[in-house]
Symmetry: C2
Subunit: 597 residues, 2 copies
């Protein structure tokens, strides 16, 4: 026998005439006409409890109720009087006439009202337990749970099994910074918390487990951005004996299943876009397709203009010149343009050229712009034709190294596309916009280190027929790698892996990782590949990010019960904290700056 018969939020008109016992928290108490009304709250919602003075013992208790008291109510479900129903609540047609009332636990006055919408994040994280009582947070975490459960059900039905991989693992100096854990047993040795189970899941494929998944914590000790946490949760998946297309199909179905089951949303078909096309059109490998703005390539026609700002990048290898046409954008004011100019500088742009198209039929004369005078007629014609400009549009220009152009104009595209103008003019479509980005390059050249780096990771397989490019022309080599993008966020990504040792060696060669170094760092994987490793591949989804998107939460911290701040602190428990000297001694370490503590 539970202390209750029903959840508060689930008492409906089906129970009229029945006696129920409810437990929950006083969300609000109102006194009205000598009667006390209590909005009682639990995980499932609210119910209205009515306390009449004709039961004086019970009424006396009701009079002492305050917000957030935890109480038990026994009473009769009855229809609310006409005109007092609340269609926003499942229980909105009924109320519970209280017969017995027990205070399970009183509450001191909370430091804030639970329905206060203007709390600072510091307040919310410091008093996280009360913050977590808010329906907003409860809905977020309940949805997060339902997402994981639907993922598990889908994967179970498709033969995937959850296998745990170690949390105390080996530090690898590549990639992001590791969180280290000193060993007590092995003086001077350290474990690392995993950045991902990548190598272990590949080992499980070699070991014949066929289909693996795990919803697991990963760790990166990086400087935090708004959507990053030191510990984050990954839906990590790997399968044997499937090719790239089948892997993508399967996990498209998985995400589609999750959206349908948890939100009743149909994601529809996922477009598939090569990386090169995404960069060409949107300057981004995770374009937000809700924004109906595209780059127009102009590099070729700007080579011989008198305007150095354009002709410089256009004639320099690795340079790029593009336009971004914003239909109806001529109403953007000078001060807004100035603000955009400052904005693109964040991404390395030196400025932001623009042309307002007042009258496209008038050609050069119909254009308003500080730069038109520097462009010859052929360039003007090309700009207008290629962008398809119409009267009333504005064109913005990016001209720099391709990376700067892509980053700056890509960011501007989103800023405008998510703004008021775009919503008003239909340039922003309010929908779910999923997308596969495929055919990523295997390698990117690191200008500083003068070497090729792996774009994904060094275990990613090259496309069939691209194996030989690894020696001769690494920059041309395309990988069997894919990212799933939703509304401009990378939801997940993965690749077909290399399963043959000799291909793996070629990749290490291209990356200038010596056989000795490779053996030292990844020896256990290389060894495993020798024993009949199966063809395999997989991917990983960021759960925190997925749920943030689904709930439209303001921050990733709103879908995590106990998150860290951007200074990597837990304000609730005050972690990290100083520890005893004895603990440090046992771990064979000492502080560099004892005075810092």
């Amino acid at each position: 026998m539970s202390m209750r018969s029903h959840y508060c939020g689930l008492v409906t008109e089906d129970l009229i005439g029945h006696t129920v016992t409810l437990c929950g928290w006083v969300n609000r108490r109102r006194d009205h006409g000598g009667v006390i009304f209590v909005d009682l709250r639990d995980r499932e919602g609210y119910v209205q409890v009515v306390c009449d003075p004709d039961r004086p013992e019970m009424f006396a208790i009701a009079e002492d109720l305050r917000n957030e008291f935890c109480i038990q109510v026994k009473g009769l479900v009855r229809a609310r009087p006409e005109g007092t129903t609340n269609d926003n609540l499942k229980s909105g047609k009924i109320e519970v006439l209280c017969h017995e009332l027990t205070v399970l636990n009183p509450s001191v006055t909370p430091p804030f009202q639970l329905d206060d919408e203007n709390l600072s994040e510091t307040t919310r994280l410091t008093h996280r337990v009360l913050d977590l009582r808010r329906p907003y947070m409860q809905n977020n975490l309940m949805l997060r749970y339902r997402v994981t459960m639907e993922v598990r059900k889908f994967l179970d039905e498709h033969g995937f099994i959850d296998i745990e991989t170690p949390m105390l693992t080996k530090s690898t100096p590549e990639g992001a910074r590791d969180y280290l854990v000193p060993s007590r047993v092995h003086d001077g040795h350290f474990f690392a918390l995993p950045q991902s189970p990548q190598l272990f899941k590949q080992l499980l494929m070699v070991a014949g487990y066929d289909r693996y998944y795990q919803i697991t914590k990963c760790f990166r000790d990086e400087d935090l951005r708004a959507d990053r946490q030191p510990e984050f949760t990954q839906i990590d998946i790997e399968t044997s004996f499937l090719g790239e297309q089948e892997i993508r199909d399967l996990f498209q179905r998985m995400i589609t299943h999750v959206f349908r089951q948890t939100m009743n949303v149909d994601l529809g078909e996922f477009p598939v876009m090569p990386y090169a096309e995404a960069m060409f059109k949107y300057g981004s490998d995770k374009p937000d397709l809700r924004v109906k703005l595209e780059f127009t390539e102009l590099t070729d026609v700007m080579k011989d203009v008198d305007f150095k700002v354009f002709s410089g990048p256009a004639t320099t290898p690795g340079g790029r010149v593009v336009a971004l046409r914003v239909p109806g954008g001529s109403e953007i004011s000078r001060s807004e343009i100035d603000a955009y100019t400052e904005f693109v500088k964040i991404y390395g742009a030196k400025g932001l050229a623009w042309i307002k198209v007042n009258d496209v039929a008038a050609g050069r004369d119909g254009l308003q712009s500080p730069i038109v005078k520097n462009l010859h007629d052929a360039a003007i014609t090309a700009i207008l034709e290629r962008t398809g400009a119409r009267s009333g549009d504005i064109l913005f220009f990016g001209a720099d190294k391709a990376k700067v152009v892509n980053d700056a104009i890509g960011a501007l595209r989103l800023k405008i596309g998510h703004g008021e103008l775009a919503k008003k003019t239909g340039l922003f479509e309010d929908r779910w916009a999923p997308l596969w980005v495929v055919d990523f390059p295997m390698f990117e050249f690191d200008e500083d280190d003068h070497r090729w780096n792996a774009v994904h990771h060094p275990f990613t397989a090259p496309k069939d027929g691209h194996e030989d490019d690894m020696d001769s022309d690494p920059g041309k080599c395309v990988a069997k790698a894919y990212d799933m993008v939703l509304n401009g966020w990378e939801l997940g990504g993965g690749s077909v892996r290399i399963h043959r040792a000799e291909v793996q060696s070629k990749v290490f060669d291209a990356l200038k990782i010596s056989p000795e170094d490779a053996q030292l760092k990844f020896g256990f994987l290389l060894d495993a590949l020798q024993y009949g490793a199966p063809p395999h591949g997989g991917l990983a989804f960021g759960l925190d990010r997925l749920v943030t998107l689904m709930t439209k939460a303001e921050s990733i911290r709103d879908v995590i019960a106990f998150p860290k701040t951007q200074r990597a602190q837990d304000l609730l428990t005050q972690a990290p904290s100083p520890v005893d000297e004895k603990q440090l001694r046992e771990l064979h370490i000492r502080l560099r700056n004892p005075a810092a503590v």
Copy 2:
């Protein structure tokens, strides 16, 4: 399209006449009468593949196959010739006549035969990937997965939601030793890996999540025993608004469900035994009820015997004298008794008195024993009557501090009960023997520190009516704590928690934890209790242990994909390992003994 149409192990006679495509590993190749037979293996089992020389291209490939090659086979399913079927295999009635054969990946010769039963653990853990290919390990990990999935389904149906709690949390100096993680951002500060999510799950109850669970890693940096790992997995559960009885009922049903769904085992009813009774009868709080041996209490009748070994403990407060009667045990030899004597010394016993009952009707004269001469007639009579001794039995005695007696004779009970004699004489019943042990004491007295410690943890609620004992007589105070025991292993344990701040304060008083100290260590919990914390309780199961029991694995390491050794090392990846000086500098720590690395 997958590279295969079916799993090898699941090709049955239903598919006779169909063409199938299979992927797997060569488990064995036999040449017989000019034909090559391949036992092909995957996660789901074996299938026999027949390669006829009349397809020479395919046959040439088959001739080069070696063990552990990863291959793809396309062929026709046909019935095996009469007399060659194998009833041990699902696919034992059929074979696949190979039409096409592709080597997906060859294998070098493995360092051991996969079916070698005599591998050292070091070999197995060093070559874990090959070890994990063995059907024994695959079955263990598949069962582990099915257990977790059935747990999740059960909990989902009962309204429990999985909520993640932090891995990077606060160090608490109590309890087991923490694994520490130095903070880069906060000089001199450390996170700790969680020993359990205990405080967080209680906070989630206070926050109104109502029913929580998590299958999560926990960490203890303790010296390892056979059934311990530095990181282990806990099925962690908490609920609001249920009392002790309902919590036990629910989780008894959960474990019953898991055994039924995954092993088709009916666990039957769980006996419920108070802690005091378990200690009285078995000297253990996790008695193995398959062993039909019980202690006989003799303390009272040994007070005035001439034998100091007995009368000493019998007249000392906290002393205990018991007999353990082993029916049919008089055949135990002197050398076996000597071995038992050495065995009980491990547990602190100084020796092991014994009496062989050759002829119970003859009284003293029918007894064979070095100690009988020291016991007066009343003592002899009491021993024979209380133990219910019969001719052919042996009685062993424990006399010491109660803890030593319980530990030593409890261990002896198991050693004899699990031995050959017990199996032969029916003293050991080969069955599943579940049990609830309840009514644990709240506190135990620490003789060294001269203070009371919490038996479970300081958040455990006292039984109703025992609150006042906390001041006056802590030793009498019984807790709402319970352990689930199976075959002598503690599967899980938990308690109803304290939900009222004033009761929590009383417990801290009894434990001599000052209000300031309590605030410092558990302040965030104490704060939370003030805001209408609901009545709540829960428990945690050790997943590794549960699966070890279910699979009858020899070691907990056989149900974990990538375990640590007893020296807390991962032999596969060679973790822990030395790290770069740069990493240490960033973490504001240095090694005490740089020479150790």
